[in-house]
């Protein structure tokens, strides 16, 4: 049996039930057994007392979009190394994408990922299963069996389904099994050959652009089909101001869909690419500052529900290439909370709203019992110092790949401890 934990003097922040006060959290048998305001209750025998003075205690983060290299490309990232990065970033649950090698499109493979994770990972790993076989966008997979095997949602990961007939069938079938569909809206023919946001900057660099309508057209289609089928649909990631307009239109129509955005699109814009810096080659691409502002406004207005890291480990071999030839993607698990806190420190977003997008909302969308600090819930907790200054150094990152879009970035706010199911999985050694 695990030792009870008593977290004292923490600033507890949780949206449902509402907590925004100094208090204590008692953890027993891996679950929250008590949350109190002010002075701690008497600690049970043998409890480990954690003095969280000056720290915020929030639910552990849930990252809905994480790529690893396992199975297939273990040298880029394993479930274990991803989980270490997650733990250091305050992320207690990662949803791992199915476009690995092989693609997770079969119940046995979902089971494999779940078992590997249980054996090696420090945080909760929830497998997402492919919507279509081989993520090829043609034949749908066995949604019912995949769900039974432990798949938490359906997605084709980096791929976007082009055939509307296939997508509609998938949505209808997913509704039947009450499985959420998470889908990247991207029109392959409009985005063909594209390397970055289309505009005068891409033209100046001589790189082919990805126009915004490559996102808004399939997003609009997806929303119509979601409305028609009633499926729980999560559009992610979205990246443009015009996508917010599309979401708003359907939200008015009473759609129960949701949408997610990558932390990269909230903290960076296309000018970060500078002189062909490939760590900023992302999908969806970094857009303009106006788009970034619109995405932040979308979070404020509730049109965007979740923020994810889009953690995508790529080795230097495929990143140290001319921009057009370089791989797409950046890691982000370890920096997710710290970079998100930039939006708090810049007064763009309230801390409660910010944390909801990475805790409560993903849990609701995926139907998880984690994501909130409440009596009886699994004790997945993140303790962080919201004002702690630090610099992201490649060499310090726990990921097997170092393709961070925040290299040498100055951060304000750092995770000091991460608890998963009542077990401490990360401690910032300087603090404790």
């Amino acid at each position: 049996m695990r030792k009870p934990l008593l977290i004292e003097n923490a600033h507890i922040i949780n949206s449902m039930p509402y907590h925004d006060h100094i208090g204590a959290i008692l953890v027993e048998d891996g679950r929250v057994s008590e949350i109190v305001k002010g002075a701690p209750p008497g600690a049970p025998d043998g409890a480990e007392r954690i003095d969280a003075k000056g720290l915020i205690a929030s639910p552990g983060l849930i990252d809905m979009r994480v790529f690893t290299g396992e199975p297939g490309l273990d040298y880029r990232e394993t479930l274990e190394s991803a989980s270490l990065a997650a733990a250091a970033g305050g992320v207690t649950t990662i949803v791992v994408m199915p476009d690995t090698n092989p693609v997770i499109d079969d119940p046995a493979l979902v089971d494999f990922v779940a078992r590997r994770a249980a054996a090696t990972a420090k945080v909760r790993v929830l497998p997402a299963a492919a919507i279509t076989r081989g993520v090829e966008g043609r034949e749908i997979t066995e949604f019912g069996l995949l769900r039974e095997a432990g798949a938490v949602c359906l997605t084709d990961g980096r791929r976007s389904i082009q055939d509307s007939g296939v997508l509609k069938a998938a949505m209808t079938y997913a509704y039947n099994f009450d499985m959420p569909i998470v889908h990247l809206p991207c029109d392959a023919s409009l985005a063909a050959g594209g390397q970055m946001n289309a505009g005068s900057f891409s033209s100046f660099l001589g790189l082919k652009g990805i126009p915004i309508e490559a996102e808004t057209i399939p997003l609009d289609r997806d929303m119509q089909l979601a409305l028609a089928t009633g499926v729980r649909y999560h559009a992610a990631p979205v990246s443009t101001a015009r996508s917010i307009d599309v979401l708003e239109r359907y939200r008015r129509d009473g759609s129960v869909t949701s949408a997610g955005v990558s932390i990269n699109n909230l903290c960076l814009n296309q000018t970060d690419i500078g002189a062909y810096r490939t760590y900023y080659k992302l999908n969806p691409p970094l857009r303009t500052e106006d788009d970034r502002r619109a995405l932040i406004a979308g979070i404020k207005s509730g049109l965007i529900d979740t923020i994810h890291s889009d953690h995508d480990p790529q080795d230097s071999e495929v990143k140290r290439q001319p921009f057009a030839d370089a791989a797409t993607g950046a890691i982000g698990l370890e920096t997710l909370l710290a970079s998100a806190l930039r939006l708090f420190h810049s007064d763009d977003l309230d801390i409660m709203v910010l944390l909801e997008t990475m805790t409560t909302r993903p849990a609701q969308i995926l139907g998880l019992e984690t994501g909130s600090l409440k009596k009886g819930a699994p004790a997945d907790i993140c303790l962080f110092d919201v004002d702690y200054p630090w610099i992201v150094e490649e060499a310090q990152l726990r990921s097997r790949s170092t393709n961070t879009a925040f290299e040498n970035a100055r951060m304000t706010g750092k995770v000091m401890m991460t608890i998963v199911g009542g077990e401490i999985v990360f401690k910032e050694t300087g603090r404790w």
């Binding site: 033209s203 001589g206 002189a275 062909y276 001319p322 921009f323 057009a324």
Partner: protein, 329 residues
């Protein structure tokens, strides 16, 4: 054909032998060069013309090694750089990368490290990807010259075009230059637009909308889709090569329609100023973007562009590598 313009040895102009030291380690693009630097390079090139015409060799790069690293085929640019290097006394080596280790999967960064270990003094690079030359320059200790990267820049082409214009019209400042054709996929257009705007020329592009890149309005003074309107009153017409792969049902419907609306012929040429220069970076598709009669006509300076290419490349090599500040004209 336009008359050959006189060189410094004939006019006595521009024979000053001292040039300001070039403040850049590499020549990666026109972007980042200021008007004074561009002028100085053109002056240096001017002084190279008589050397080239008299088939003389300077000692400026004696003992230096120049590697021409071409990932894309380009007979004329490679030859031009080779001759330029040899006229300055450099040892020139050509590497056609399409047939070498790249085919075996070696990355650009590996190639750079390998070549760097051979201690060259300058590497002239052409690559199909925008930014590739800049990436390579970060991995070597010698000077790097961009001989064309993807659809990004081709700085020596812009310099040789500028030199040609300056020799015929006396200056760049205030001249109206129209660049016509496949702007979206042209590094020549980008380098020229940057250079011409830096030198305060008035710039226009003329092309069907499908061949204009997004945000072109930020890169040029005026955008035209009608050739006649666009050529009205221009001093210089730069035609661009239409790549064959784009000429069938993708971005334009057919070469014949293209020639009808965007090919430079005598009728359209009449809209430009009477002695407007006709330029083309080559190789030409006669009958697609330009009427052969115009390409070989009195306003054409196309072969002179090729000649200026050698002078400009000598000047760039000299500026980057020569320890002496003199071109010893």
């Amino acid at each position: 054909m336009a008359q050959r313009t006189p060189d410094a040895s004939e006019t006595g102009a521009g024979t000053a032998t001292a040039f300001p030291a070039f403040a850049h380690r590499h020549m990666l693009g026109i972007a980042g060069l200021n008007p004074v630097e561009i002028d100085a390079l053109l002056n240096r090139a001017e002084a190279m013309i008589p050397i080239s015409r008299q088939r003389r060799t300077l000692p400026n790069l004696a003992g230096k090694t120049q590697i021409n690293l071409f990932f894309e085929n380009s007979t004329r640019t490679q030859a031009s750089f080779e001759i330029a290097g040899k006229r300055l006394g450099a040892t020139v080596m050509n590497m056609a990368m399409r047939t070498s280790s790249v085919a075996k999967g070696e990355t650009l960064v590996d190639t750079a490290a390998t070549l760097n270990a051979m201690q060259p003094d300058v590497i002239v690079v052409r690559h199909g990807s925008s930014g590739a030359v800049s990436l390579l320059s970060q991995k070597v200790e010698c000077a790097v010259i961009n001989a064309g990267d993807g659809t990004h820049e081709h700085p020596t082409q812009a310099l040789l075009d500028a030199l040609t214009i300056r020799r015929h019209l006396g200056r760049l400042n205030g001249m109206t230059v129209a660049i016509c054709g496949d702007i979206a996929n042209s590094r020549v257009a980008r380098s020229n637009l940057v250079l011409l705007r830096t030198m305060l020329a008035r710039t226009r592009v003329i092309a069907p909308r499908t061949l204009l890149p997004p945000g072109i309005g930020d890169m040029v003074d005026e955008v035209y889709t009608d050739m006649r309107e666009g050529l009205e009153g221009v001093d210089v017409i730069m035609m661009l090569r239409l790549q064959h792969e784009r000429s069938a049902g993708k971005l334009i419907a057919s070469p014949r329609e293209y020639f009808r609306f965007y090919g430079l012929d005598a009728e359209k040429l009449r809209y430009a100023n009477p002695n407007a220069l006709v330029m083309h970076p080559g190789p030409m598709n006669r009958g697609v973007e330009i009427d052969p009669a115009i390409a070989d006509g009195p306003q054409s300076v196309i072969t002179e562009q090729v000649e200026m290419g050698v002078a400009v490349r000598m000047a760039v090599l000299d500026a980057l590598l020569s320890k002496t500040d003199a071109a010893d004209a």
